[in-house]
Structure formats: structure tokens, C-alpha cells
Symmetry: C3
Subunit: 425 residues, 3 copies
């Protein structure tokens, strides 16, 4: 672990209190904080813009929301936790009886100490979320209900950072910033992605990197509607980064086409880490990889997580907090993603420049005395060259000759220097 | 079970007594009875006609045949069971000693109560078949032997029904009518096929149906020699229907090329029934699928059976009678084949009309409140759409998203109505 | 076993005492003895010739070499065993102390009774090999060291025999003649190959045979540098023949591309022998198959062995002698290789000439009486014809219809005679 370990966690902490949604000032505030780390460009897409089958909705902002019980006590208070309000709740200010109020309340009987996360983006509605144990204490009587929110023509905000590379080809990173105060899903994704971008900016890059911070679903659909043609030609592999902050095992959701380059790299990277991981089928998808892999879009995108959305008990509740997410958890994911991106940067097709084996001895790469077993040390070089036929990339060669890829990196370097191989896209 | 249950069985009963062979009046009489149910066209192919490597043989008819023992008793009598005569026996009328008679007798020592079924279509010969237990009672002495048969230039008779569909593409059904009094092999095939045709005539049809009632081997070779070019272009899947009348498990014989559409549909249909079934290799073939799959013919044809020819003890003996075949057994096969044909009719390639997921919420197909688990009900629609990319047919989608095909039919209907998918051939 | 059994062994015995290396008179003497059996053409490639990435080295010859101990005793003597001298040792004639001598000695602590085989072709050096048990007896003092060798501009010698066939296509056999007195690796290869060539000369041949006797590595690289273009077009399958003289199990090293015709034939041949054998991955390669399969060369070559080089304890030591190799071991390999070559000669693609099944009955190939089970005898003919569709060769058909290939040879002969099939390249 290093200095960056705490920096990622600090960013999560800084962003945590903000009330985000798919539009509104919470998103803008979040992206501006990220701009302190990386030169993100912000864009505003007006309400009413047609994006494929969808329409950008009205912008939603909220100042306050609460419920006062018959005894005059504020029993639900948005200012204490922004999950108390159903996302996109319309304004309301009235006094109603408990039975009427109940129709607008959401709680989890199985998780009585958790405030659930509920939204209603595309149907006008208001509602409050609360711990089930608190809901059970509500007594009959008149309740004062106030939602001081605003729905108006405005815009959907997103951030984009395109980092150029030597090639026009791109690696695509996508993460989302539409969730209110939850830490793993979803501040871990934007925080780790921010520091990945920061690291990429310091590197010599083969590929360009297209990195976006968007609201989920409507954001990815909007982004594709503007950029699909360019991305279809450019993107070699993409990663939806989500739920990467806890300390549980890693996982990835396969792309719809199981043979994409993103899948190949992810599978190989996880295997080469030597830790347990879960490969989810595309049937287990649930985040923006849904859009990126949809028919006709067909971008080579997988989702990278630790505990995947929907699979851990704290998911979409107030229990997904700053205790669930840890500096160590965030940093591990950051390192994993660096490992994946380095793999992509270094993964060329290699072509032997000789017919027959080259004479390694005169280059100091083969023992000059030949005796039983003497060539064992040179074996990996010979094996590498045997498969460097222009049809195998470094991942393929590593698999075929059964040598870990990081042990091949110095061999590649030496053989390139000796002009015994060439690297090809 | 329904009214048709008894009707199929009654047709088997009506056809049972007739003495059929590969040519002759028994076939004509059989096809005329079938014409009472469906508008079958009858054709006559003259003796001597060259059909691929074969020649249509002389026509055979028989009036009577018997053997009288030294005591004057009729010990073998064609009029009691038409299996007593070797098919295509030449006329004979003479008195011979028992040892000479024995050379012309056929019985089954292992099945002493069964009269075997024996033929000699392409070599002039006469012979009688009898129960082994009766053969053992024959005493030395002179036997009078009479075969009142006729072999002459005539023709081979077959029936054909072509039912048009919206498409020029065809589904092919083949069954055979050359066996004398045996019920499973082979009256079950023609009887079930007759009622399938009757049902098809009442349906709106995507495909045309080419349905033939032929003598085995020579009939299919003859039919191919006349229709192969048309069929090569038109037939999408074919089914040889044979031995479908008992109550044992279903089975099918794979086509030679294991990747034909007929194979795909049959395998899927059997799997989706959820009953045990046997998939026989093409090496286990034995009926007209031999010809339909032969090199250069290569039609996509599988054979559908319950207990396949050759695998059950009553096969090709007098024990294959009206007790072995049951109304329930016949009706089950009729329903299975309807299931297969409906599958073919409904199995289109589907293409999503949107880029990205469509907004299902505004069409009432997705919950408007989003909370933990709320989208589970809409999941199958989303999964269907995710694979409706124009490269998967409904069978593929059902397999990939692991939802039974009958549960997809209403989803398809709704999505077509919403214009969210199109159906493609 | 036959007369040839002893002849192969006798050839090994005759060649055993000669001191071979990658160049020099030992190779010439060896090839001249082989010329007594087959009309081998000998070629000389001058020192300094560029061959791909390599250069033909100086020619090495040796008259004598020995070490005399402080007591005046000849403790190491090349004339007693030619493995005592490191191959390509430069001349030396001096007296040195034991510690200095030790730097030039090679022995095997784990195999104290074996003289190891050591060479230093491409780095000027001198050295002696001895049993470890003898090395341990050496006492301090002055040792007289004499190597009476010569390194000079000369040439690399190899033998080639091209036996024409009906086709321009070739089968390639390669074996090496650069090892001094060791029997399995490597006199078994040249001896068995000599007698294979002798046998081929007596046969009517579909294919041409390109057979070479070369020094390992530099020889195959040199040969490819001169013949690759011709061989790329002509060679259908090649076999590197090495270590075929002991009585242990057979093995082969797969070609780099696991789908070559050489692989298919070798795998099938070994399976059809019904004995245990080992299929080594290309990663286990180690002889000239390294060069033949290298990227850009890509000839369809496998290596055939009994105990493969490197896998048996006597390998590359004086224990690899005339006891390890036996007449029976050599003869078995000779028969195996004949089996493989016969398979290649007989393995055509077959094409049914009829549409539908042919009428086998009128050709005496099918019973004229049809009764339960009567066609079983003709079944293999029908099955053969069913897969003789022009896309399956005889190996494929044998696998698909599960009939041993030697049982198909008479069926093929008969069907060719009946013009029911044609054979195609």
C-alpha cells in the first residue's frame, strides 16, 4: 500500500455526504471535486433530448424533506440521511393520516436497521425510506409531510476525460455518479477510476483512454447515442467499474459475446493474480454493461467488481457505508485495474524474425557447452520464440508455454533488442 | 386425450388386416382408406423405371397361400395371417416331402410363438413363415404347397400430399406403407402422419408441408430420384415417422450431419418435454433416413420413434399387433409431433429494433419504482431483448437465457406488438 | 521377426565404434556404410556457408586424446571410448596441475559409472568426460593432457535419398548421424531409417519420399535453408526418427500445430496398434522437429520415438549402448513406421458414386432374403458408403463408423472394383 491508498479513501469520504441523482447539483458538485484530481470535462445535456429510445428527464434538486409525527417530532429527516427521500420525489407539503402516509413509505422487514435506496425517475411520485424498526414505531394520527424539491427543465450532467495515446485505438472506462450516500455502490467506482486516470496521465501510453463519469442507464444510453460510431471503431476493450471498495473477492461480468478482447484480458488477469474470483455470466449483468453490450452496440465491455451489485447484503441500503468500503479494498481494486491496463498496453502479437531457431549461443542466450539438461535455462526463450509466429499475442503465448506473463516481459524486451522478434498490433 | 385419440387407433385397426408389400393392391387399398381422411394424391411408377441405382420391380399380388400336411390338414394358412407368406413369393403349386419344405420355412427358435416377417423382393423365391412351436409339430410325409401369387409388369404406388404455406420452404414428413399386418412397424407411422396432416390442413401455416406415404427403401429412392432438386432447395427439416404406436420412451435417430436444423429442433423439442428419450447416432439408422441422409442427397432428416425398429422384441413378428400399439401411445406421438411442428412454425430469428435497452417503463413493462429486486419480473423481457440480435433464433434464445420456450411465446407476441423486435427468417 | 531384425541391429553394431560429430570424417564413414544398403547421395556444405541465422562451422577431426596421471598411467583414453573427449575440443598438449585439469573435466555425480556426452561446437574449448567414480580417484600432481584434434575450413556432410512416387507430394523422413558411440540416441534412428528406405524402394509408391541423414540442428537448419520452398509445397507429412531402439513404449512429439496431417496419422496409427503410447506436447520437443515446426517453416513434422531423448536414464551417456538397444526394439519401430507409411499410402478421400444407397443385393453384397437381423453382415459396407462423401478420408471413416482400418481395406478394394466409390486425393 502507498500514499494513494489513503487518497482514494479520502475521496470517497469527501463525496459521501452529497445527495446525487441521475441529474442535478449533486452530480455537478461530485464531478467538480473529481476535477481537483484530473482534468475532467463536464457536459450538460438538456432535458428533453432524445437519446435512442429514451428522453433526458427533468432535472431534480432537493433542499429538504421530512415527516413530523402527531407529537411534533421529526421522525424522518432528509438532512440526517439523504436515503430517506425517494429519488426524484415531487414537492409536497401537507398533513395526512398514518394510513395514507404508509402508502408512501419504503422499508425492509428483513433488514430492519437499514434505510433502503428507492427511486422513481420516470413516474411522478413522492415517498420516504426508513428503517423498518422505526416504521413500526409510528403511531396513528396526523403527520406533516414536506418535500422541498424541484423538477424543472434543466440538464443531465456528465464528465469525460479522453487521454490520448500513440494509437487511435482506445481503452474505455465507465463508472457512475448517480447514487446518493452509499459507499461501495457507488462511490468506490468513481474514486478508483479517478486515481486510475491520474496514474494513466503519468504514463507513456500505447492506447488512448476514454473515461466517463455518468449517471447509470440514462447516462450510458445518452453517451452511446452521441459516441457509438467513434467507439465502435476505436474501443478495443472496455471496463465498467463498479462496487470495487470492499475487501471481498473480485469478480467480473462477462461481455455478451464471451469472446471479446475485454473478456480475454479480464479472465487472464484474474487467473494470473492467483486469487479466487468469480466469472459471472452475462445473464448476471445489471449495470451499464447492459447498454454497452446490447445488440447493435456490441462494445467489448466487461464489468469489474469485488462483491457485485445485488450480491452483498448491504447493497442499496444505508449499510453500504464508509465501514464497508476500506482503504485496503479500494487500493486492491486500483492495483488490479492497473494490472489489467498494463496487460493491455504490453499485449502485442510477436513475430519471430528468423526461419528456424536463431543461434542464441552467439548472443549469450544459450550455454556454449552442451550437456544433459544444460539448455533448461534457455528453454523459456526457445519456447517463446516457437510460438512467436504472428498469430499469438503475449497472453496466448503465456498460456501456451505455461510461463507467467510477468516472466515473459524481460524476455520480450531482450528479444526485441536482439531484433529476433517484432511486435505487431 | 381427445376425440382424435380413438380415431388414430381406429385407422390402425382398419388398415391392419390388409396384406401390403412394396407394390400391389394392398398399398393401393391402404392409401385409399387414408384418402378418406386427407386429400392424398396417388401416383403409379411403372415396373422397370430406373431410380438412381435401382429399378422399380415387378408388381406382386397374392390371393391365397397354404400348406396341407400329410393328414390333409391346412397347417399354414395365409388367410389366417398374412405374415405366413414370404413377401414377393413366386407362384407354386406342388407336393413335396418335409425335408424339401423345410428349406422354404422361416421361424424363430427364440420366439416360438411368433410368426416372423420375411421378404425376398429382388430374388425370385417362395417361402412360408410360421411359429417355431408349430414348425416343430410337422411330421414327415408329403406336403401340398400352394402359393397363388402373381408377379407382373405393373407399378409401384405411393401417396403424396403437399400442403402450401406462406413460404416456399417446406417441412418434410415421410412414412411407409409396405408392411403387412404389423401395428407398430408399420401402421403407427401412417396413422399418426394422416392425423398430423389433417391437423396441419386446419392451421395457418408458415411453411409448406410435403408429406409422403411410400414403400420403404425403393419408395424413398424413387421419390428422391424425382424430387431431389426441388427438395434440396426447399426442405428446412424432415422427419421420418416410424414405430410411434407403443407406450415406451421416445427416441430419434440423428441425421448424418449432426448439425442439421431437424436435429436442432428434435433435440430441443425432446429436451423441452422433460421426459426421458434416446438420441440414437446415425450409425443406428435403419429406415428411410438412410436414403434422405446419404451423401449427395443430404437432406436434413431425422427419424422419430418411440421404441425404434429393431430395438423391441415384437419387432418384425406377428407379436407387433393391436395390443402392442395403443390409443394412448399413438396419441402421445401425435402430440409430440405437433409440438415439434409448432416449434418450427414459431422459431424465427428475432432482432431488437433499439440501440441500447428500450425504455420499458413507459410501455408498462418495467416497474416505475426502482428498489432492490424490483426488476426481477421484467428480467426475462430484458434477457430476451439482450439476445434478440438477429443471430439467435427462439430456440437459441431459450437455451441461452434458460427460460422455457413456451414462456417466451407471450413475450415475443408483446414485443412484436410494441415494435421492439422484428421476426426474421 | 524376420531376417531384417538382425540386419538392423548389425548395422547399429557396425556404426557404433565410429567417432561422429556434426562434421568430420566420422559422419562420412557412417554415411558410406549406409550406402552399402541404399543409394544415398552425399553432399558437402563448406565451412562458412550462411544457413538462415547460422553459419556452417569449421570441420572437426580427432586422432587421439588422453590424460596421463602423475604416476604415468593413462587415466583417460579416447581410444577406449570416444565419449571421453568433449566434442569439438581444440588441440592441446601440456602438463597441468589437478585443480587446473578439473576445470576441463565433466562427470555425473548421480551416475558415477557413466561417461557423459558433452560438446562445445560454437565456443573454442577443450575437455574430457569420465565416470565420476574415476574422477574421484584422481590424485594431486601434474597431469599430461593431449588432444590431437584438428579444426579447419572443411565442410558439413549429409546424405539424402529422394525416392520418386506417382505423386509429386512427398513424405519426409529425417534422422541424425552426429552422435559418437551411443546406440539409442543415436544409431537406432539412422539404422531403422536405412531399412525403411530399403523397403520403400521395393514398393509401388503413391508418394515420393525425401529421406535425409544429417547432423542435428545445424544440419536441419542447413537443409531447410536450401529446400524449404520445395518442401513447403510438397511435404504432406514428415517424421523425425530418433531413439527407436530400446524396448520401452512408443511415443511421439506432436507438431507445433496440433492439426497437421502428420499428427493425425501418427495419433491414429498409435491408437490402432492398441498399445500404450505417449503423446508429447510440442513443448516437450528437443530434436530436429524444433526446426521443422518453427514459425515460417511450419512443416507438418512429428518426432517418433520409443523412450524419447531426455526421458530415459541412459540418455547422453556411455550407458546408452548395445545392450540398451535390441534387435527386437529396433524391429518393432521398423514395423511401426511401416504401419504409419502404409496408412499414408492408403489414406484417400472416398466418394460414393450413387445418390441414395446402391442396390448391394444384385452385386452379391447384401442378403436377398430380408429377415430380422439379416443385414448385419452388410452393415459395415453400408456404413462405409454412408460416410464416403468426399469429405472424410479413410482414417475419418474408420473413426466415425468404429471399424478398424485394416478391416476397411478389403471393403474399399471391393467397392472400388464395383465402381461404387472413387478415391480422391
Amino acid at each position: 500500500m502507498s500514499k494513494v491508498t489513503n487518497e482514494i479513501y479520502e475521496l470517497v469520504r469527501e463525496l459521501f455526504p452529497i445527495c446525487r441523482s441521475i441529474t442535478g447539483d449533486g452530480v455537478r458538485q461530485t464531478l467538480k471535486i473529481i476535477q481537483k484530481h484530473i482534468p475532467l470535462n463536464l457536459f450538460e445535456v438538456p432535458t428533453g433530448t432524445k437519446v435512442f429510445d429514451w428522453t433526458v428527464p427533468q432535472e431534480w434538486n432537493i433542499k429538504d424533506a421530512y415527516v413530523i409525527d402527531p407529537a411534533g417530532k421529526k421522525v424522518i429527516d432528509f438532512k440526517k440521511h439523504n436515503l430517506h427521500i425517494v429519488g426524484y420525489s415531487i414537492p409536497v407539503n401537507k398533513t395526512i393520516a398514518l394510513p395514507e402516509l404508509q402508502k408512501h413509505l419504503y422499508s425492509l422487514p428483513d433488514q430492519p436497521t437499514a434505510i433502503p435506496y428507492v427511486t422513481s425517475y420516470y413516474q411522478p411520485r413522492w415517498g420516504f425510506c426508513l428503517k423498518h424498526q422505526d416504521r413500526e414505531k409510528l403511531k396513528p394520527g396526523k403527520y406533516r409531510v414536506v418535500v422541498d424539491s424541484e423538477l424543472k427543465k434543466g440538464s443531465l450532467t456528465f464528465g469525460e476525460l479522453i487521454i490520448p495515446g500513440l494509437s487511435q485505438k482506445e481503452v474505455f472506462l465507465s463508472t457512475y455518479v448517480c447514487h446518493p450516500s452509499m459507499a461501495n455502490n457507488e462511490l468506490s467506482g468513481p474514486a478508483v477510476t479517478t486515481f486510475l486516470a491520474k496514474w494513466l496521465l503519468t504514463k507513456k501510453r500505447r492506447y488512448a483512454y476514454r473515461i466517463i463519469f455518468i449517471p447509470e442507464t440514462i447516462g450510458s444510453i445518452m453517451y452511446l447515442s452521441k459516441n457509438l460510431n467513434v467507439m465502435k471503431n476505436a474501443v478495443v476493450a472496455g471496463f465498467n467499474i463498479s462496487c470495487v471498495g470492499d475487501e471481498r473477492n473480485y469478480s467480473y461480468v462477462s461481455s455478451r459475446n464471451g469472446e471479446t478482447y475485454a473478456n480475454k484480458v479480464a479472465q487472464f488477469a484474474f487467473e494470473s493474480l492467483g486469487e479466487d474470483f468469480t466469472r459471472y455470466s452475462y445473464l448476471d449483468r445489471g449495470s451499464d454493461e447492459r447498454q454497452y453490450n446490447s445488440p447493435g452496440v456490441d462494445l467489448p465491455v466487461v464489468s469489474i467488481s469485488r462483491s457485485k451489485y445485488g450480491t452483498y447484503p448491504e447493497y442499496h441500503t444505508s449499510l453500504d457505508d464508509l465501514n464497508l468500503v476500506t482503504p485496503r479494498g479500494l487500493y486492491g481494486s486500483y492495483e488490479l485495474l492497473k494490472h489489467i491496463l498494463e496487460l493491455i498496453e504490453k499485449n502485442y502479437y510477436y513475430q519471430n524474425t528468423c526461419l528456424g531457431e536463431p543461434q542464441l549461443g552467439r548472443r549469450g542466450l544459450y550455454p556454449t557447452v552442451s550437456k544433459k539438461g544444460s539448455a533448461a535455462g534457455a528453454r523459456r526463450i526457445i519456447d517463446f520464440l516457437a510460438y512467436a509466429d504472428g498469430t499469438n499475442d503475449l497472453i496466448d503465448i503465456s498460456r501456451k508455454i505455461k510461463i507467467p506473463i510477468h516472466e515473459l516481459y524481460p524476455i520480450v524486451k531482450r528479444l526485441l533488442k536482439e531484433k529476433l522478434i517484432t511486435a505487431q498490433e
